[in-house]
């Protein structure tokens, strides 16, 4: 009986402990939210969204150029990485032989594990130095490499969930492989694919490390793709470690905008799919 009691108590204790763990996980999340929102809201104003940064130490100014810069960088990275990732995923699930598929899958996994700072020095070596200029393009190149593996693997998984009957029915009707894949399979697998795409967009939107050596930052409006460009996370980093109070204030405002946009992207992907894959 004593033994039974002990088992009972252990059971209760351990179960309570798991609840405690779950609550503990939420603490930093809540703290981050409270700080980013409370400090961010009081710091955000119209200037923040419309003005260029002021000289160091002067109060005022905003991060308009950085917000647009981040959108452009993300857009350009998406422009090449989404087609590459999606088509790569299609190839993996539809055409690849076993051996080649394993190699590609393995490479994609390796690629997704490469620390983003290493991708940054890679992009610096193959793009910035030969072209003799830090540029928006080199930044988008680095970000794209980060996107590809995630998109490729989620697309593959999503396509795998498309029932075989659908594909066979379409092919039996004499519709060729290309049209079957694009019109039937990809369309059915769309929600899963979009989730992967959105997740990868949300991730690169907040990436800082690879931009240090590529996009480099810019205090003015963007001036074309072959020039350095401002990025929101980069600006937050510079302002966060600065001693100027007004810059620290703007770092919180930037954090609020960054977190807001990132969550909007994540939430959109959830709404689109309404399920986790």
């Amino acid at each position: 009986m004593n033994n039974y009691l002990r088992r009972k108590i252990t059971d209760k204790l351990m179960r309570a402990l798991t609840v405690f763990c779950a609550i503990f996980v939420l603490l930093p999340l809540i703290s981050i939210f409270v700080y980013v929102i409370s400090k961010g809201i009081t710091s955000i104003n119209i200037d923040f969204f419309t003005q260029l940064p002021k000289p160091a130490g002067e109060p005022g100014g905003g991060m308009a150029n950085a917000i647009i810069g981040s959108l452009i960088l993300t857009g350009m990275a998406s422009l090449w990485a989404i087609p590459a990732g999606v088509l790569g995923g299609v190839y993996l699930s539809e055409f690849s032989t076993n051996k080649l598929g394993t190699l590609i899958r393995f490479s994609a996994d390796v690629l997704s594990g490469v620390p983003s700072i290493v991708i940054g020095i890679f992009a610096y070596s193959v793009w910035v130095r030969p072209m003799k200029s830090f540029s928006a393009l080199s930044g988008a190149f680095a970000l794209g490499i980060i996107m590809i593996p995630t998109i490729m693997r989620t697309t593959e998984e999503a396509i795998r969930m498309v029932p075989h009957d659908l594909r066979e029915a379409s092919l039996a009707l004499g519709i060729n492989r290309f049209k079957t894949t694009i019109r039937i399979i990809l369309k059915t697998a769309m929600p899963g694919t979009i989730t992967g795409v959105m997740l990868s967009i949300a991730r690169i939107f907040g990436e800082t490390a690879p931009l240090l050596f590529t996009a480099f930052g810019n205090r003015f409006w963007h001036q074309g793709m072959t020039q350095p460009i401002a990025a929101l996370p980069l600006q937050i980093f510079v302002y966060a470690i600065s001693p100027f109070e007004d810059w620290q204030r703007q770092a919180w405002a930037g954090a609020l905008v960054l977190i807001g946009l990132t969550f909007v992207i994540s939430l959109t992907s959830r709404l689109v799919t309404k399920r986790k894959i």
Binding site: A56, F134, I194, G217, F220, Q223, M225, P228, I241, P243
Partner: protein, 346 residues
């Protein structure tokens, strides 16, 4: 769903097109380097954008080491440094690089000591005390040798937290150049350069990072450019100079340090201002240079750079005093202008 994607895609593509249109209008000239003059450079570039609306100067304060590296790699149009390039580095760059002094500034010892900063006067430091703090030999604020220089100040029994730069830095160069001058132990143990192997302390990125760390860490001491300390309302110490006077870092005492060297200025302007002989000269001062290639390969950019440099050493100088940099004396400005006129724009 398709609509949503089309909209998102449309927005991105139009943004990219818009940015392409922008590109045609403005010339962007990129520079990178020292954080020491960043307050005045960012002021200059901000003001200059209003004077010449066809050009923007984008300056990223990544550290003097970065300025030297990136101009040598030609990834930027101009560099900036407060530690002059070595002969070896100049050799490596492949083409002739000019050092053009822009302003002079002071490196100050700033500290975060609640107990003392309430009193009116700032702490005083002898050169050997400074060296030993950064060598890790003096560990506490109430050390007898600090107390000796500061009679009547109630120093707390607190550990000294040294804060230094984690990146390649001209501020570091000026500071360790000074330490090497005044301390044999420093010279043999650590030496001088834009990055060194620090015996003790925390590393912060840029003058911004060091100031930030000092501000956040009670008991800390670090070296930063004067305006960083002033703008952040941090106290900074008086340093004893060769003449034996404790000198408060200021615009005037920096100018005195510059005056002491103007007459003997070498033609390439690579000169150290530390430990000057002047009676009222602040001992840890330095020039800050913009680095440009003598031969400018891009005509449009080259012309704009020359125009800007001429503006900076003349009209631009009036912004220096407000930000606590010492403006250049007229005799030196003429010499620099002669040098600028040697820049060849193809």
């Amino acid at each position: 769903m398709k609509k949503l994607l089309t909209i998102i895609g449309g927005v991105f593509i139009s943004l990219i097109i818009v940015s392409g249109v922008f590109a045609a209008k403005l010339l962007l000239i990129n520079g990178a380097g020292a954080t020491f003059p960043y307050p005045i450079y960012s002021k200059w570039f901000y003001e200059y954008a209003k004077i010449d609306e066809t050009v923007n100067f984008n300056y990223q304060s990544i550290g003097s080491g970065g300025g030297i590296r990136q101009i040598s790699e030609k990834t930027v149009d101009f560099g900036a440094t407060d530690g002059p390039m070595t002969d070896e580095q100049l050799q490596k760059a492949g083409a002739e690089i000019f050092h053009l002094p822009m302003v002079a500034g002071a490196v100050v010892l700033t500290y975060n000591l609640q107990e003392v900063s309430n009193s009116r006067s700032s702490l005083r430091f002898s050169p050997d005390v400074v060296a030993d703090i950064f060598l890790g030999k003096i560990k506490k604020w109430n050390d007898g040798r600090i107390a000796q220089d500061n009679p009547g100040v109630n120093l707390p029994d607190k550990k000294i937290v040294v804060v230094h730069r984690s990146d390649g830095s001209g501020t570091t160069f000026i500071f360790v150049d000074y330490l090497s001058e005044i301390s044999g132990a420093w010279k043999s143990k650590v030496g001088k350069g834009t990055s060194v192997d620090w015996p003790v302390g925390l590393g912060g990125k840029g003058n911004e990072g060091v100031t930030g760390l000092v501000k956040q860490t009670p008991g800390s001491i670090g070296y930063v450019e004067l305006s960083y300390a002033v703008k952040n309302k941090l106290p900074y110490g008086d340093i004893k100079n060769i003449a034996g006077n404790f000198i408060t870092p200021s615009l005037e005492s920096t100018t005195k340090a510059l005056d002491a060297k103007v007459d003997t200025m070498p033609s390439d302007f690579r000169v150290s201002l530390v430990n000057p002989s002047g009676k009222d000269a602040y001992p840890i001062a330095g020039l800050t240079w913009i680095l440009v290639y003598k031969k400018q390969n891009d005509k449009a950019k080259g012309e704009k750079i020359v125009k800007f440099l001429n503006w900076a050493v003349t009209d631009g100088q009036k912004y220096a005093a407000d930000l606590l940099y010492a403006p250049l004396p007229n005799s030196l400005i003429t010499k620099i202008q002669n040098k600028i006129s040697e820049i060849q724009v193809k």
